[in-house]
């Protein structure tokens, strides 16, 4: 009936092989080789039982040496490592959010950054109890920016956004003593608790890991998401394309990579500038193509329809095409390998943030105040670099898929409004989704997030799980590199409805959506937290009762652990395809995989067999349905 086909992992791998051949010609290194060099990994590290916190050590736990020099056992060491891992992730996301709040402070009607969604700004201000009546939008933005920045260091009280959670969830947090206070404080407390001679009790360390995670998801990340929307516009459904084939051979190709949209938004703005396009033509190109890698890509795809060249483990591939004039990066998940790799080609590797400075890169310091000039100079540099291409090295794999992206919570509600009956239903709610779940048209929902990790054949876990879930009438919301894996495969093409069970297919047709919804970058998992809160409220149950689970099958970063912690803390069972580095402690395993649910009604499940992981999720969803009597 339909000619619609997914791009297979094999096709992607063949394309990568072809690019690595180019790499071999120019003597380039690649992660595939480095993985071999690093294998086998250090077992003590993998199990989380190597302690490097003081210079008496490092200490490693073995049956013969069950305690470190200070007397800390495996449980304390693994717990401390886990908390530090979380703190790293929480700090990273939250600092990204802080940058956004600072950028918000610079908005002005004729400045580099403006308020594109004043309604959302006013909505958040009202939520925070800020007077909006008769106030100039820009004055309000500045006021909100200061208030948001105070969330990072306020001496008293807890995060303002916690009130968005259902009452029951808030009560659980209070009872467990994990309501996050100032965002920075939770990171500092984590660092303090894990200092030599502080906490070694797994319960305490795990609780702080949850709290530190919550300060990210319901604090820093949420600020990042919400105020990005205020400045750059709240995403709405938009068509784009994904995979390396989006790069255009005859154009100047600029790749944006990283996480913070402040830079990429500006680059896109100037790449569209007629003056710059004319300049590109002067340099012998036909135009300028900006495409993205990683979460910066998600940000600009959601708001501008900028195509997605690939996800985390494809970052070297964009350079290997030989057609990348500049890879412009901001923060997080950027391989230092890009420096030496870019030297093998004509590619300019441009770092822009003091947070992420790397050897072999051109550093163009980017700041909110001078963003326009910075972006323009970068685009110019890329154009000028076009003539340095080595044509014999140019090869762009002819792989790309259509994708509809941009499903912010607001957009999801608006989409659901289209299926309501104007003579019966209220609009602006998630009730149609609730109805679908109750009636069994949809069995449940899975929030699939996270990175790529060479421990898993790249994208396979994401794609195989998605295929399995949608065939079983489970709808997915995605973010981060998981979302890009789906887009590359074609799962965000509306035609992917043909791979769904009858119920989900019906929903896709009715609402005109793809079966997997792109909700944004990794900070945007905060959107999923509000989604699940509103869903629970509209259903009239607790979040933990909803037939909804989280999943990170290919996670790798500290941020992912921080995310996982706030997702389970919000009451959503989370399924992992890669093991957290705690297996050296039975107590830590017991806590994370079981006991933590006494506090937050959800826990982690780890299963490296991807097919089984899918079964476990479906099983859990059905358990929850039975418990709800639906």
């Amino acid at each position: 009936m339909s000619e619609f086909k997914l791009t297979t992992v094999e096709e992607n791998e063949a394309a990568t092989e072809r690019l690595l051949e180019t790499g071999a010609k120019v003597g380039a290194d690649a992660w595939q080789f480095r993985v071999k060099n690093q294998t086998p990994h250090c077992k003590f590290g993998e199990q989380g039982i190597c302690c490097r916190i003081c210079s008496m050590g490092p200490c490693r736990i073995t049956p013969k040496a069950p305690r470190g020099i200070c007397g800390c056992d495996a449980h304390g060491i693994a717990g401390r490592n886990f908390l530090r891992f979380t703190a790293g992730g929480s700090a990273t996301h939250s600092d990204h959010g802080r940058e956004i709040c600072h950028t918000l402070h610079t908005v002005s009607p004729d400045g580099n950054y403006k308020v594109k969604d004043p309604e959302k700004l006013i909505r958040i201000a009202k939520e925070w109890g800020v007077e909006t009546e008769g106030k100039d939008v820009y004055a309000l933005a500045h006021e909100m920016s200061e208030l948001a920045l105070l969330e990072y260091g306020k001496p008293f009280g807890v995060q303002r956004f916690l009130k968005r959670a259902p009452k029951h969830t808030q009560e659980l947090w209070a009872a467990a003593g994990i309501e996050p206070r100032a965002i920075d404080r939770e990171v500092s407390t984590a660092m303090h608790m894990t200092h030599m001679g502080c906490s070694s009790k797994p319960e305490a360390l795990v609780k702080q890991a949850l709290r530190c995670g919550l300060s990210d998801g319901w604090g820093g990340s949420m600020c990042g998401t919400e105020f990005s929307d205020v400045m750059f516009g709240t995403p709405k459904p938009i068509e784009t394309e994904a995979n390396l084939g989006v790069m255009v051979e005859e154009n100047v190709n600029i790749i944006v990579h990283g996480h913070d949209p402040s830079l990429s938004e500006m680059i896109c703005e100037y790449a569209d500038d007629p003056e710059m396009i004319a300049y590109a033509k002067e340099m012998g190109a036909k135009g300028i193509t900006v495409s993205g890698v990683c979460c910066t890509s998600n940000e600009v795809a959601m708001r501008r329809g900028i195509p997605m060249a690939g996800n985390f483990l494809q970052q070297e591939n964009v350079v290997l095409t030989g057609a990348c004039e500049a890879i412009v990066v901001d923060v997080q998940c950027i391989f230092p390998a890009l420096g030496p790799l870019s030297k093998c080609f004509h590619t300019k590797f441009i770092t822009t943030s003091e947070i992420a400075q790397m050897p072999d890169s051109d550093f163009v310091k980017f700041s909110a105040e001078t963003a326009g000039e910075n972006a323009k100079s970068i685009v110019k540099l890329a154009c000028e670099n076009f003539k340095n291409r080595k044509p014999e090295l140019v090869h762009i794999p002819n792989l790309k898929k259509k994708a509809t992206v941009g499903y912010s919570l607001e957009a999801i509600k608006k989409t659901l409004d289209t299926v309501t009956n104007s003579h019966v239903d209220e609009t602006g709610t998630l009730m149609p989704l609730v109805d679908c779940l109750k009636s069994g048209v949809l069995r449940g929902a899975v929030a699939m997030v996270g990175c790529n990790n060479p421990r898993v054949r790249p994208d396979t876990a994401h794609i195989e799980l998605m295929k399995k879930l949608i065939a079983n009438d489970v709808i997915l919301v995605l973010s981060g590199c998981s979302a890009q894996a789906a887009a590359k495969a074609g799962l965000m093409d509306k035609e992917a409805k043909n791979l769904c069970g009858a119920g989900l297919k019906r929903v896709c047709e009715l609402a005109d959506i793809p079966p997997v919804l792109h909700m944004g970058s990794c900070v945007d998992i905060s959107r999923m937290m509000v989604l699940s809160s509103d869903l629970a409220n509209d259903y009239g149950c607790n979040i933990s009762q909803l037939p909804l689970v989280g999943c990170a099958p290919e996670w790798m970063s500290e941020k992912a652990v921080s995310i996982g912690n706030y997702v389970i803390s919000t009451g959503i069972d989370t399924y992992l395809g890669v093991e957290p580095q705690i297996s050296g402690s039975s107590q830590m395993e017991e806590l994370l995989y079981d006991k933590v649910s006494d506090w937050v009604e959800a826990s982690y499940t780890v299963e490296k067999d991807i097919d089984k992981l899918g079964d476990l999720m479906i099983e859990r969803i059905e358990e929850k349905r039975t418990a709800l009597g639906i």
Binding site: T420, S439, A502
Partner: protein, 708 residues
């Protein structure tokens, strides 16, 4: 929970069906034939879903085995909906058993099974939006008044309403008029009788959509996308109704209910509406039905649902009768400066001065003007008057030109309906339907007998004669272009009509002038210009330009058509044709059957059976759908020798075309009273008797070359 209830309902109906079939076999034997009357599709739902024609009780039992395979029990949507389909098929089996041994199980006011002919008739109004939707009302409304109000609300929108169960008694309780003529069709009182409307939707897919029986996917896509039906089910909704509802949902028909117990909503498909007075809006919203609103300021309702309303002498307040006194209706184009827009003038006495039950003269002249108005459009507008006036609740109109009859009912009169209101309706409709060419419009209504007589002779008759001259000069050769008509594609996606002056659209509703006006009114619309500059064979009526157009407008489904042959690349049909002709091999001729004809033809097939040979945009050499007027055309199967091939027609049809057909025969072959040589059902219903009759009459077809 919802899914389990559907399974339970399905199991219950299946059990009943199994018992009923076993009992029937025990009593009548497995060889006993089963069928619904007046359909070529056996058990239409089962046939459409599986491609298998069930003809005996034994086969019915086998079919039940197939139904059982649809009843899978995974708790997923598809299983639930397929169980809904299984429930519907069981309902069809139970219903067909009621017709066993030629029984007539339904009596007034219930209809039960609906004939194929009705569906063919529904094609055009469904595509034009005159019937914007089909409502299925099931169960008893909270009060009879609320039920009737709901029906009335749909009627006022032109929606075809079918009734199942308690609502039928509620109508009777309030003496509410029902029947196909007013588009309120009580099906039956058992819930299983709902299958008779499902059967209509499903046969529409076979007739218009060229869906291959057995291609369930295409069938469901057709009903979901092209049949604008929906269900209103009153509480209590038991498991059986819920299971039947699942079947409706599978076909794409949303179910709106006031039930709140033990039920879950499904967005867009199963919708709770507690307020019955909002069922109408909720349903239209759910099925995305847009009502074309022409607000007309008259004291009675105006809707296509009243088009078939009959006003009997006893119900009539006054009558204007063109067969007794001078009456006429006319559209006249004038310069815009001579027209005052929306001026409605009554010249003569009004209705309230007439005695109850009396006959009078009337003439109404609609004067129109506009930059793009052409006098060729006058008759096009004028032909619409029949439909416009009939859509008035309590007004009946028949005939055209100076042979009209208009009746106004007592109820309409009592509601305040007066002569001027006729003007309001004509004004509003002409302005609304032809806004692209009519800038200004005024209406003059004459009831003064002397004035009617004078104007009839001085104004109307000369104008009609002028038009007739123009029409008789309009031949396929005399015009430069033909028109395509794809009005039906909403329903029959690969059919294209080529409309020429001597060959009107097969539905009988679109003449070359109509097509021309439609093109003028909406240049990007359903009627497009087809040039005729590249003839291949003018005898056959084959043109490269025509082929290119047909290919383009059928999205490549059709490669070529001829205008004048029924054997070589004959023109396709959508399914809503007025007549079908088919070759009669023994006489070298063709027989023609019209939609209204319910009897047998000498081909051994009824109209529904003949009609099922073609339609849906497919070419079936030897069979062709066409309009009634085409029968007397000089171009009627000209390639095969023309009208002298016609050997048989139902009597009624023969009489209605006799005058024009005889004139053509005289002109072409010098034959007088040609229709006397043509057989009909009173002469022959089998080929042997027919050939004997033709031989006796010396019918020219016998001497012609065989067609195949």
């Amino acid at each position: 929970m919802l899914i389990s209830r559907i399974f339970n309902g399905n199991d219950a109906v299946y059990g009943l069906t199994e018992g009923a079939i076993n009992d029937a076999i025990a009593q009548n034997g497995a060889e006993c034939p089963v069928s619904f009357p007046n359909t070529a599709y056996c058990l239409p739902c089962y046939y459409a879903v599986t491609g298998v024609k069930v003809k005996t009780l034994g086969e019915l039992k086998e079919a039940l085995g197939v139904v059982k395979t649809l009843m899978t029990r995974n708790h997923e949507l598809d299983d639930a909906l397929m169980s809904g389909v299984a429930t519907a098929l069981c309902a069809e089996f139970i219903e067909v058993l009621k017709y066993l041994n030629g029984a007539a199980p339904y009596e007034e006011p219930c209809y039960g099974h609906l004939a194929d002919a009705i569906i063919r008739e529904l094609g055009v109004p469904l595509v034009t939006g005159d019937i914007p939707g089909v409502a299925v009302i099931l169960g008893s409304a909270p009060t009879a008044q609320e039920g009737v109000d709901l029906i009335k609300s749909y009627q006022a929108q032109g929606i075809l309403v079918t009734l199942v169960g308690g609502i039928i008694d509620q109508c009777a309780e309030l003496n509410y008029n029902t029947g196909y003529g007013v588009r309120v069709v009580p099906l039956g009182k058992d819930v299983t009788s709902v299958i008779h409307v499902v059967s209509v939707a499903i046969r529409a897919a076979l007739i218009f959509g060229n869906v291959t029986p057995g291609d369930a996917g295409a069938l469901l896509a057709y009903t979901a996308q092209r049949v604008p039906a929906f269900v209103n089910a009153f509480k209590p909704i038991d498991d059986v109704i819920l299971a039947a509802g699942a079947g409706a949902i599978k076909l794409g028909f949303p179910v709106i209910s006031n039930e709140t117990e033990n039920i879950a909503e499904v967005p867009g498909a199963l919708i709770q509406q507690l307020d019955v007075s909002k069922f109408n809006q909720t349903s239209l919203d759910a099925r995305n039905i847009k009502i074309k609103i022409t607000h007309i300021d008259i004291p009675v309702a105006f809707a296509s649902a009243f088009e078939g309303e009959i006003i009997r002498r006893s119900e009539m307040q006054v009558e204007f009768d063109g067969s007794r006194v001078d009456c006429f209706e006319l559209v006249q184009s004038k310069d815009v400066s001579e027209i005052e827009d929306h001026k409605i003038e009554l010249i003569g006495p009004d209705v309230d001065t007439f005695e109850e039950g009396s006959k009078h003269s009337i003439a109404y002249v609609v004067e129109v003007g506009g930059k793009n108005m052409q006098s060729d459009f006058e008759p096009v507008f004028e032909r619409k008057f029949h439909s416009y006036l009939n859509c008035i609740e309590g007004v009946m109109h028949t005939g055209q030109r100076d042979m009209i009859r208009v009746r106004i009912s007592k109820t309409a009169f009592e509601a305040g309906f007066r002569a001027k209101d006729i003007g309001e309706v004509l004004y509003a409709k002409i302005k609304n339907d032809f806004e692209a060419v009519v800038d200004k419009c005024q209406v003059k209504i004459y009831t003064e007998p002397a004035e009617c007589t004078r104007l009839r002779h001085e104004l109307a008759i000369p104008m009609f004669e002028k038009r007739d001259d123009r029409l008789s000069n309009l031949t396929d050769e005399s015009v430069d272009v033909y028109y395509s008509c794809i009005l039906c594609q909403a329903f029959s996606p690969s059919h294209v009509c080529v409309v020429t002056p001597e060959r009107l659209g097969l539905c009988g509703a679109v003449s070359w002038l109509d097509a021309k006006a439609t093109n003028e009114l909406d240049p990007a619309g359903p009627c497009q210009v087809i040039t005729k500059e590249k003839p291949i064979d003018t005898e056959l009526g084959a043109y490269e330009d025509v082929n290119e157009a047909v290919k383009k407008f059928s999205q490549g489904a059709l490669e070529k058509v001829t205008l004048y042959s029924i054997m070589q690349d004959p023109m396709t049909s959508c399914g809503c044709f007025e007549c079908i002709c088919g070759i009669e091999p023994f006489s070298n001729g063709v027989i023609i059957a019209n939609r209204e004809y319910a009897g047998m033809t000498p081909l051994g097939m009824t109209f529904p059976e003949l009609a099922s040979m073609t339609g849906g945009g497919v070419q079936t050499p030897g069979f062709m759908g066409h309009g009634k007027h085409f029968i007397s055309s000089k171009k009627f199967m000209k390639a095969e020798g023309g009208i002298e091939r016609i050997v048989w027609m139902p009597k009624e049809l023969k009489e209605s075309v006799a005058e024009r057909l005889n004139a053509t025969a005289k002109e072409l072959y010098g034959i007088d009273n040609f229709t006397d040589m043509i057989g009909d059902e009173s002469i022959a219903e089998d080929p042997e008797t027919l050939v004997a009759f033709l031989t006796e009459k010396g019918h020219p077809a016998l001497g012609l070359e065989p067609m195949m």
